[in-house]
């Protein structure tokens, strides 16, 4: 069944129009190919070839006990989605302060904030995957933090897929709005129970108003046989701060796009990420920080660890508009290859159209430091443990940048588990 045949008009008039425009765009362009510059290192052919069944109705057998492995040790307000649909029985919104709204999208398409922002940040025709999501999104989350409101606890949006999603596609849509001087932390997790083949095509829109601060964690732990494309579009106001951490370890093929526009003076963007691959996994991060106003700062550090025959990609662009004088930008991507057959491609890019800026970038692809390995071994530590320690240390350097203590601990533990095996104590320097 073609996408045109699967399409159903739904939602309020403004949304139906956006969906229609998105579908038309997708029909006109189709899936990208490697000829597209943005897809140079990653072929989406494996996604394009499958006739994914759109998952519209509630499904799945996820039980409350199944979620413990995904909650990051947080006792936080949580919206849980199973196979793309909001599941109230697994969710908990106790303890939300006034002026904070956390809602499922399916029941709130007509919400004023949704109409104001949805499809305005990630526009329907931005690219093929955003178009598909816009045309087919049936559910998702809204986090709206009112002006001058400080949200102390993180909000966790947990998108779980189980074996009933096999051969299916979900198009989760998330809207995060932090009004003026609001402070919020939002975690999006894309996780799997079982090892089904499915396709997650997520789009997240984040509005960070003047003086607002949003900490955004994005955890991609899909099944090893799943396909994941996730696009986040952020707009930042004056003196705002957007800080993100992308933790990606799942999927046969995953593509994580993160785009922000610094649209007001004094804004700050911090983008960090860690991707760890093995087997034949392919994970591609594409970031873009657009400095569109003067006196903004951006810092970006992504690290990748590739084992076996996996392939990691980082493509990061810092774009400085002519009016963005006094921009201060720094971007780094470091990769370590643990096997002869692992592969990393990195393409940091600066495009600067202002003359009074300070921007640097750098990228490395290497192996574990032989001298450091020898140093550890010369103290009696065997080769395997020495490799583990150095690999963990490489990752710890970027995990240390996570502000939220529970999330940091949980991601450190997940990283350790991957390299050391379960139950190992923390290695990192305090």
């Amino acid at each position: 069944m073609s996408f045109a045949e699967q399409f159903r008009d739904s939602g309020p008039t403004w949304l139906a129009g956006a969906r229609r425009a998105a579908l038309d765009h997708f029909i006109a362009t189709g899936f990208p190919t490697k000829k597209n510059e943005d897809w140079h290192f990653t072929s989406p052919a494996a996604i394009a070839e499958v006739d994914w069944l759109p998952l519209r109705d509630p499904s799945g057998q996820v039980q409350p006990d199944d979620l413990a492995q995904f909650t990051l040790g947080l006792d936080a307000p949580r919206l849980v989605f199973v196979n793309g649909r909001y599941t109230a029985a697994l969710s908990s919104l106790a303890g939300l302060p006034a002026r904070v709204r956390v809602l499922d999208l399916a029941g709130h398409w007509s919400d004023a904030a949704v109409e104001k922002w949805l499809t305005k940040l990630a526009t329907p025709t931005r690219d093929a995957f955003t178009a598909l999501n816009t045309a087919f999104a049936v559910d998702g989350a809204i986090v709206h933090v009112g002006a001058d409101t400080v949200l102390e606890t993180p909000i966790h949006l947990l998108y779980v897929t189980d074996s009933e999603a096999a051969k299916g596609a979900t198009h989760p849509r998330t809207l995060i709005v932090a009004d003026r001087h609001a402070v919020a932390t939002v975690i999006e997790s894309y996780v799997s129970i079982g090892d089904a083949t499915y396709f997650t095509n997520a789009v997240t829109e984040i509005q960070v108003a003047d003086g607002a601060k949003v900490d955004h964690y994005r955890i991609e732990r899909e099944s090893d046989r799943a396909y994941h494309v996730g696009t986040t579009e952020v707009r930042q106001g004056r003196d705002s701060r957007y800080q993100s951490f992308s933790f990606a370890t799942g999927g046969a093929l995953a593509r994580v796009n993160l785009y922000t526009v610094l649209g007001g003076e004094g804004g700050e963007t911090l983008m960090h990420g860690l991707y760890m691959l093995d087997g034949t996994q392919h994970i591609d991060h594409q970031t873009r920080i657009e400095h569109a106003a003067p006196h903004c700062a951006s810092r970006e550090v992504y690290k990748g660890i590739m084992d076996d025959a996996s392939h990691g990609v980082f493509n990061g662009k810092v774009y400085v508009q002519p009016e963005a004088q006094k921009t201060d930008g720094k971007q780094t991507n470091n990769n370590v290859l643990l096997s002869e057959t692992a592969q990393a491609d990195t393409k940091p890019q600066l495009e600067i159209f202002a003359d009074d800026v300070k921007c640097t970038h750098g990228a490395t692809v290497g192996r574990l430091d032989e001298v450091a390995l020898f140093y550890l071994r010369s103290r009696g530590i065997d080769l395997e443990q020495a490799r583990t320690l150095l690999t963990y240390a490489f990752a710890a350097d970027v995990l240390e940048r996570i502000d939220q203590p529970e999330v940091r601990k949980a991601l450190e533990a997940l990283t350790l588990e991957r390299f050391v095996g379960g139950g190992a104590e923390l290695v990192a320097a305090a």
């Binding site: 430091d369 032989e370 001298v371 450091a372 020898f374 140093y375 550890l376 071994r377 010369s378 103290r379 009696g380 530590i381 065997d382 080769l383 443990q385 020495a386 320690l389 150095l390 963990y392 240390a393 490489f394 990752a395 710890a396 350097d397 240390e400 104590e425 290695v427 990192a428 320097a429 305090a430």
Partner: protein, 246 residues
């Protein structure tokens, strides 16, 4: 304890060690001196098993066993310790974890169980005093951002924690001011026991005022050209290496 016979070693195509023979017995301190490029550090690294060096001839027997049949970690587990001339920075691994991992690895090789972390902390704090180091450095990443002097002290701290049978100190005095030199030397002297031995590799005689050797060997161009007692070091200080180079 250590018997080196006609040792040859290369790095890349270049032969650095060109036939070294040396015997070290329990309880002894040997100093190896020589000009820059003579092969002193290569000898130290070859003994520890640095992968960049290739042994092309000769034998080294350690406690009756073929040293070159052992991996670097096995040598360490059997009590060989190299204090590095350039200690390696390992951001992301705390010094405390590193010390404990090494200590436990050595225990494990002897069939002993892992030490309780709190018990280990007490032990390390006692060892810290030996090299006059701040306990704060335990929570810092291994050597990362350490000053030159701190790195050298950290080497001696590791030595104090691991209590090797044979310690090789590679230019441990370089980069140390006189106070640090005294602290480091005191530490080494306090660790001296009748059943362990030390090889001190140094360019200058200065260190040997504090760590007094039983034997001094002069290494020039990959060969030991002269051996003697501690007075040989003073002779070298007075006349330079040129006098013995022939």
């Amino acid at each position: 304890m250590l018997d080196i016979r006609d040792l040859h070693a290369t790095v890349g195509e270049k032969e650095i060690l060109r036939g070294i023979s040396l015997s070290v017995g329990a309880g002894e301190i040997h100093a190896i001196m020589g000009p820059n490029g003579s092969g002193k550090s290569t000898l130290a690294q070859v003994l520890a098993g640095h992968p960049a060096y290739e042994v092309t001839g000769g034998t080294v027997t350690y406690d009756g066993e073929d040293l070159f049949a052992m991996d670097p970690e096995e040598r360490a587990q059997k009590g060989l310790f190299l204090a590095f001339q350039y200690p390696v920075e390992i951001p992301g691994v705390s010094n405390a974890y590193f010390l404990r991992a090494a200590y436990n690895a050595i225990r494990k090789s002897k069939g002993l169980g892992e030490i309780d972390p709190l018990e280990f902390l007490d032990y390390v704090e006692e060892r810290l005093r030996l090299v006059d180091m701040d306990p704060d450095m335990l929570s810092r990443s291994v050597n990362a951002g350490f000053s030159g002097g701190e790195k050298k002290r950290n080497e001696i701290l590791q030595m104090a924690v691991l209590e090797p049978r044979l310690a090789v100190l590679d230019e441990t005095d370089s980069g140390l001011d006189i106070d640090a030199l005294r602290v480091v030397s005191d530490g080494v002297n306090k660790l001296r026991r009748p059943d362990n031995a030390t090889i001190v590799v140094t360019h200058y005689q200065r260190l040997l005022n504090y760590i007094v050797p039983d034997f001094v060997h002069v290494l020039v161009n990959g060969r030991i050209v002269q051996s003697g007692g501690k007075e040989l070091a003073l002779e070298l200080e007075a006349h330079g290496y040129a006098g013995v180079a022939a």
